[in-house]
């Protein structure tokens, strides 16, 4: 892209916004690196849109600071922030053609007619819609509209692009395809992307880092892998991936499940409200014989076996902990043979997979 465009870091500090008694943003601080793909992930109503709209300038915070690079932006009106934006509803102008939509930001910026045309066409090619310029918006499918919205957001080479649940209106297959495409597109563009979603899988797929938002606060910010393997709180562990949780007691940096001391490699995160052991079905190992001494033993009796196509879910009844789900890849299950209902099997939870989290972050 042109040498003038280079992505900017975003520094958010102590951002607050209340609607009546609801704290939509509760003292949010967040540093986003230049060129990073950062996702705001959280359940509906957690404050993601409010944070994004505060970045865009459509929500006026009660206090705090937002800097793009060195420049304080908190009081800058939205049209002077120079952002590319993609909305959930796409927000394409229905009375304009595809090309006119894409050229809109250029037209506003006084780019010459011929330049507008060339750059709009180039942007459309980037999103694989070359030659669609003369179409009407109504003639496009949902996925194509999404691409037009993307082309429009990046055509003027903004240093920062904001997206609010841009894929949520697409069906599953197209959504997963667009996730990969968006990620590839981000690598081509020189822009910092702030992306909002409530879909944890989408966040894991696309992001450099994920900020998990809950009740207007950032619970944890980390790379997808770290977030998955070392969640800081029960909320994060529960929201990301599939898991069951069991209450454990913690004393002197060791956790106990019932009478048994749990072996864990990761330090136990600080917090309040008791601790829980997080068990992810795919991290458990079904052992042929007895569970090795180095691992935590969760052996039990097979209660049910559910075939799910790509994998098999084995539900094990544990004496004290209740039901534990184990996921076995379908190929391996096919090779070694599945346990049968009622059979006693060994279940190992290795120390590096043993996740213990506090109920609430400190």
């Amino acid at each position: 892209m042109s040498p003038a465009a280079h992505s900017l870091p975003i520094d958010i500090s102590n951002l607050c916004k209340a609607y009546g008694s609801v704290k939509a943003l509760n003292d949010v601080s967040l540093n986003i690196a230049a060129g990073e793909f950062l996702t705001l992930l959280g359940p509906s109503g957690s404050g993601k849109t409010t944070l994004l709209m505060a970045l865009a300038g459509f929500v006026r915070p009660d206090g705090g600071s937002i800097r793009f690079g060195e420049q304080e932006m908190i009081a800058t009106p939205p049209h002077k922030r120079g952002l590319g934006m993609v909305f959930q509803s796409y927000a394409l102008f229905p009375f304009m053609t595809v090309a006119e939509n894409v050229a809109y930001p250029l037209k506003i910026r006084g780019v010459s007619k011929s330049d507008q045309k060339a750059r709009a066409e180039r942007a459309l090619e980037t999103v694989q819609l070359g030659g669609y310029g003369d179409r009407r918006i109504t003639q496009l499918s949902g996925g194509q509209r999404q691409r037009v919205a993307l082309a429009r957001a990046m055509v003027f080479e903004p240093q920062i692009i904001l997206m609010d649940e841009p894929l949520s209106a697409l069906d599953k297959k197209l959504r997963e395809h667009m996730q990969i495409e968006l990620k590839a597109l981000h690598e081509k563009l020189d822009a910092t992307v702030v992306y909002v979603t409530h879909d944890q899988r989408e966040a894991l797929t696309m992001s450099d880092r994920i900020a998990v938002v809950n009740h207007g606060r950032i619970e944890q910010i980390a790379t997808p892998e770290r977030l998955y393997r070392q969640p800081h709180s029960f909320f994060v562990a529960d929201f990301i991936g599939e898991s069951i949780s069991l209450p454990v007691s913690v004393a002197n940096d060791t956790a106990q499940l019932g009478e048994r001391v749990l072996k864990s490699n990761t330090p136990i995160a600080l917090g309040s409200g008791g601790h829980r052991l997080i068990i992810r079905p795919e991290l458990l190992e079904v052992t042929a014989g007895a569970v090795p001494d180095a691992a935590n033993d969760l052996s039990g009796q097979v209660h049910d076996i559910i075939y799910q196509g790509d994998s098999v879910l084995v539900i094990v009844q544990h004496d004290s902990a209740g039901q534990i789900n184990v996921r076995v890849p379908a190929n391996r299950a096919g090779q070694t043979g599945l346990p049968s209902k009622g059979e006693q099997i060994g279940l190992a939870l290795h120390p590096e997979d043993t996740i213990i989290v506090p109920e609430h972050v400190a």
Partner: protein, 300 residues
């Protein structure tokens, strides 16, 4: 291609004739249901129009002639009536747009509940008889009416203003009666404009004013156009308010038609005026459609 051919090779179509007759019965039901409306329109709209236009080709002596039409185009009196009718209709439409557009825009910015309450203020007069409202304006506007007496007691004016029994009075009264016809379609259109569109325009670099003119305004045009057509066409043929508030000094087309019948009992001449009014209205709709390029706007 018959149904059997379409499915050729797929074996027999079970219950095909039953399904077909069921479909036919359904169509007949719909036709039957729409019949009363179709007949009513035919009898009360098209028949009188046909009768009216045929009447216009007979002169006062009952002979077949185009006299009624040549008189309309040659007589200065009639020409004056057409000019006044157009002037008043245009003035009323323009004032309605100037008052109605900002009002609708402001209403769309209100929270839903407030907007609904405010809409009632627009609608209550709409539900009141035109006659009642016109007399109410007479009470307000006349020489010793409420407006003149308050302005004089406040010392703003010395002499009472001539507000009724003239063009001013007619236009004030007509604007009040026509305003809802502009506001209703316009407000409905504006309310349906996705707020994200304006936000997207601003987010992509338009100033709030630029976003209004480039995005909001074009999207409100279908509603504005519908309102303008309604107000203008209704104004062209308006009778009660100019008759009462104009005090005989304002002669619009409908009044001319009325006097042609009641005073001169000349049905042929009155019919010709009616036909010309109808054609003018149709021509205006066609013209406005051309100017606003409506087919493009409505294509979503």
């Amino acid at each position: 291609m018959s149904i059997a051919e379409t499915y050729e090779g797929a074996g027999t179509l079970q219950n095909a004739s039953t399904l077909k007759s069921e479909e036919r019965r359904e169509k007949l039901t719909f036709l039957g249901l729409s019949m009363p409306a179709v007949l009513t329109i035919l009898i009360v709209v098209f028949l009188p129009i046909f009768w009216l236009s045929s009447l216009s080709f007979f002169n006062a002596a009952g002979e077949l002639s185009t006299e009624n039409y040549t008189r309309i185009f040659s007589s200065a009196l009639y020409r004056r009536t057409f000019v006044v009718t157009f002037q008043i209709s245009i003035a009323v439409t323009v004032i309605c747009v100037l008052l109605g557009y900002p009002l609708c825009y402001w209403l769309t910015k209100m929270p839903n509940k407030t907007a609904a309450i405010l809409m009632v203020f627009v609608l209550v007069p709409f539900w009141t008889s035109v006659l009642v409202r016109t007399y109410a304006w007479l009470v307000l506007l006349q020489r010793n009416g409420i407006i003149n007496s308050s302005l004089m007691s406040l010392g703003i004016i010395e002499e009472p203003l001539q507000l009724a029994h003239n063009l001013t009075g007619s236009i004030i009264g007509m604007v009040h009666i026509m305003l809802p016809f502009l506001v209703l379609p316009l407000y409905a259109t504006m309310r349906n404009i996705d707020g994200d569109l304006v936000r997207a325009a601003v987010g992509l670099g338009s100033s709030p004013r630029g976003a209004f003119w480039r995005v909001f305004f074009p999207m409100s045009l279908p509603g504005l156009f519908a309102g303008i057509v309604l107000v203008f066409i209704l104004s062209l043929g308006f009778f009660v308010t100019p008759a009462l508030l104009g005090g005989g000094r304002v002669q619009m087309l409908a009044q001319r038609i009325e006097s042609t019948i009641t005073v001169y009992s000349n049905w042929g001449a009155a019919s010709a005026l009616g036909v010309v009014l109808l054609l003018l209205a149709l021509a205006m709709i066609w013209l406005m459609n051309r100017v606003f390029g409506l087919d493009k706007l409505f294509m979503r």
